[in-house]
């Protein structure tokens, strides 16, 4: 191990079992929350809590805040590329039609799927 790594090896005393317990508690909330069936609660408990869990893993287990700033910068750059990709491709995928274009296949797939959904729903109600 290099001398520098020795200096970095002195991580603050973190209660790792405590962090794990919090992560497990958050997992329980992320499973139970969506069972309430409310879309807003589902978004917060499933995806909001996923972000909190990720933050805990990155800071408490990966100790990213103790690494040189450059690590944060190039990881953030890659996340930025992901967002750029989303912003660039999103308009073509999120929508099925626009100015001078019409995604016939996607529209047909959605219409077919929704028709099957309605048919299954009607069959369920009938029974």
């Amino acid at each position: 191990m290099s001398d520098h790594d020795h200096a970095h090896a002195e991580h603050p005393h973190t209660n790792y079992v405590g962090v794990w317990a919090v992560l497990v508690a958050l997992l329980v909330v992320s499973v139970v929350g969506p069972m309430l069936g409310h879309p807003v609660i589902t978004m917060i408990t499933a995806f909001g809590i996923a972000c909190v869990k990720a933050y805990l893993v990155v800071t408490k287990f990966m100790h990213v805040n103790l690494e040189p700033k450059l690590v944060t910068y190039f990881v953030a750059t890659c996340l930025g590329f992901m967002l750029l990709f989303f912003a660039g491709v999103g308009p073509d995928v999120l929508k099925h039609e626009g100015t001078n274009w019409n995604n016939v296949a996607a529209k047909a797939a959605t219409a077919r799927g929704m028709a099957e959904h309605e048919a299954a729903k009607a069959a369920g109600e009938h029974h």
């Binding site: 079992v17 962090v19 040189p68 990881v75 750059t77 590329f81 992901m82 995928v93 959904h117």
Partner: protein, 189 residues
Amino acid sequence: MKPIATTRTVIGMSTGKLAVWWVIASEIVIFGGVLASYIMHRIGHPEWADQAAYTNTWAGAFNTLVLLTSSLSAVLAHQAAERKEGKKAARYLYLTCVGAAMFLVVKSIEWSTEIHHGFTLQSGGFWSFYYLAAGIHGVHVIAGAILMIWIAQYAKKNEELQRVEYIGLYWHFVDLVWIFLFPLLYIAK
């Protein structure tokens, strides 16, 4: 003579550790691309909710618990390595591998059940993404477990203990990916 990556420092950390962070940054682009594509298509195709309804939430939740616990054992291995307790670090690495094996067993049961019910890679857009994202992640779990066994062989002899931290960083990233895959594939129905 020790490999140069373990002794040379760049930007204030060993080149070995910098390489692991570089791998993680590259993986963000790989998984990020898959997840961003999935999110876009999922929003654009409301009918996928019917397909997503068949994934087993409890299996996904159990696997999340397994990976969170294996991340705990990975960070405890790192802590033991810091204290120069190589044998203890190796034991924690083996424990992390047990977590990896449990994860893969549950995933295999899940996949075989789904395939048995007719949900294959070609059953629709949702299932394509489901098998692709979970499959790439599974490959990373297998790779991580193999590397951990290899590193543990050295760690138990108190050799190359810096590698315990490197594999730990990789493993936490594998855990991170699953933290986002779980709500996307199992909760959003």
